[in-house]
């Protein structure tokens, strides 16, 4: 407890660093995945290929990816950009599948009636397909958010600062309180962002508020969890 009180400033800095690394991948992976997921769902040939490639990407463990990316990006090993890019890639790998599944789950009857009443392909996507796939997308992005925030800590072992630095520093100095602080804060951030996403979902999709929990649970079971380290 004394450790916590004496190190408020450090903790504050690390929380900010943690958010700066973990929030961009959550947003970016969503924005990038929707068009790719649309392509994957729209064209039969693309689905298998895209999902296989992304599946392989997802199979790459994160710590090795953090180490290889600097070679590709021309960055330094301890540059936090590497983490942002790596976590975005994982997010995309998960979200593209979720988007494709979500779009595929839209009732064909509804889609046909939308075409029949005169939606253009473009407006149908934004006004019919995307909103109806919304609950599935929300479930997917919640998984991405929580695992991204948790994975960010791994960067600490190669010297990228985040709440994970409390683990490595606490380990070297043998301060359990420091490590616990890191764990608790990471979980709090993860659950807060998750809660915000749920709220956002309620605001954007008031019509599913009643049963979104059920859909989300089903999708959570289908989605793949985080690959750590």
């Amino acid at each position: 407890m004394t450790w916590l009180l004496n190190n408020g400033e450090l903790i504050g800095q690390l929380v900010v660093a943690h958010l700066l690394i973990s929030l961009p991948p959550i947003i970016l992976s969503f924005v990038i995945s929707v068009p790719i997921g649309w392509v994957a769902n729209r064209y039969r040939w693309s689905r298998g290929t895209l999902l296989t490639v992304l599946g392989l990407l997802y199979a790459i463990p994160s710590l090795p990816l953090f180490i290889i990316l600097p070679l590709v990006l021309g960055t330094g090993l301890r540059d936090s950009i590497n983490l942002v890019v790596a976590l975005t890639l994982y997010g995309i790998a998960l979200m593209v599948r979720t988007t494709a599944d979500g779009l595929a789950s839209v009732d064909p009857g509804i889609r046909q009636s939308a075409t029949a009443v005169g939606f253009s392909e473009r407006s149908q996507f934004f006004r019919v397909d995307l909103p109806l796939a919304g609950p599935v997308l929300l479930a997917g992005i919640r998984v991405v958010a929580v695992s991204t925030i948790s994975l960010t800590t791994v960067g600490a072992v190669i010297g990228v600062d985040s709440l994970g630095a409390l683990f490595t520093d606490g380990f070297q100095r043998g301060i359990a309180a420091e490590i616990l602080t890191g764990i608790v804060l990471t979980i709090i951030i993860a659950l807060s962002v998750d809660g915000l996403l749920v709220l956002l979902g309620r605001v954007l999709m008031p019509w599913v508020a009643v049963n979104s929990g059920r859909v989300a649970r089903r999708e959570l079971r289908r989605a793949r969890g985080p690959v750590t380290a």
């Binding site: 790459i60 710590l63 599944d101 800590t153 289908r222």
Partner: protein, 238 residues
């Protein structure tokens, strides 16, 4: 990219084989840790998942716990355990088992849940005991999803076992941490490349097993569905 070539050369260099820190030794350790973790996690999670799947009880608890574990940073868990039980293999082992359980658990119970309720009802109606329903209906029909759960768990464990050496637990993390400490980029890359290869190997292995265990009658006679082609979509997760 020149560095990348150096990394590959580092892997191929015969001088880096044999002895305590040889690549062969470390790969062996890494695989042993991963296998041991999967076995222990399976012993805990599969029976538990089967009970949840068969009775339908405790499901929301399992989902809640799995979600909580997802948010729990494994590195932090591993280090705090290491601080308590001391450095060595035990701390990473425990942390990895905790990490692996949710996927296997979800694979086990969702495999049971995916079985058509009417088939189970019929099995009961023709006079199968509860044990026979589990053994002859639910386990064979739930196997693909269980293997899917094991596949995810295996990937997570092989990836995360890299952290074991941070607390002196051995495995391929050694090359990464030694490389970071001495600024030896080729060595870091070498460790990374081998871990990636193991992860891909695990994926290939499990995806073939997954295809093999889909009961013949389940795929027979159905028009080829896009989803069936990609075993990944059958993967369960918690």
């Amino acid at each position: 990219m020149n560095l990348f070539v150096q990394g590959i050369l580092w892997v191929l260099n015969p001088a880096h084989y044999g002895g305590v820190d040889g690549i062969d030794t470390r790969v062996g350790q890494h695989l042993l840790i991963s296998l041991g973790v999967l076995v222990v996690a399976s012993i805990i999670a599969i029976p538990l998942g089967y009970v949840i799947g068969h009775t339908g009880r405790g499901r929301s608890l399992a989902i809640g716990a799995s979600g909580a574990i997802r948010a729990l940073p494994t590195l932090g868990l591993l280090i705090i355990i290491a601080l308590i039980v001391n450095v060595g293999l035990l701390a990473p082992f425990i942390a990895l088992v905790v990490l692996a359980i949710p996927s296997i658990l979800a694979g086990a119970y969702s495999g049971f849940e995916a079985v058509d309720r009417r088939a189970i009802d019929a099995a009961r109606a023709v006079g199968m005991t509860e044990f026979q329903i589990v053994g002859r209906v639910e386990i064979p029909l739930g196997l693909p999803l269980l293997i899917g759960g094991l596949r995810t768990a295996s990937l997570q464990v092989i990836a995360t076992a890299t952290l074991a050496d941070y607390v002196g637990g051995g495995g391929l993390g050694h090359f990464i941490f030694a490389g970071v400490k001495t600024n030896d980029y080729p060595q870091m890359l070498a460790g990374s490349i081998i871990v990636i290869l193991l992860a891909i190997l695990s994926e290939v292995l499990f995806s073939s097993v997954q295809r093999l265990v889909i009961p013949a009658g389940v795929t027979a006679g159905r028009p080829q569905d896009v989803r069936v082609k990609s075993p990944r979509s059958r993967t369960a997760l918690g």
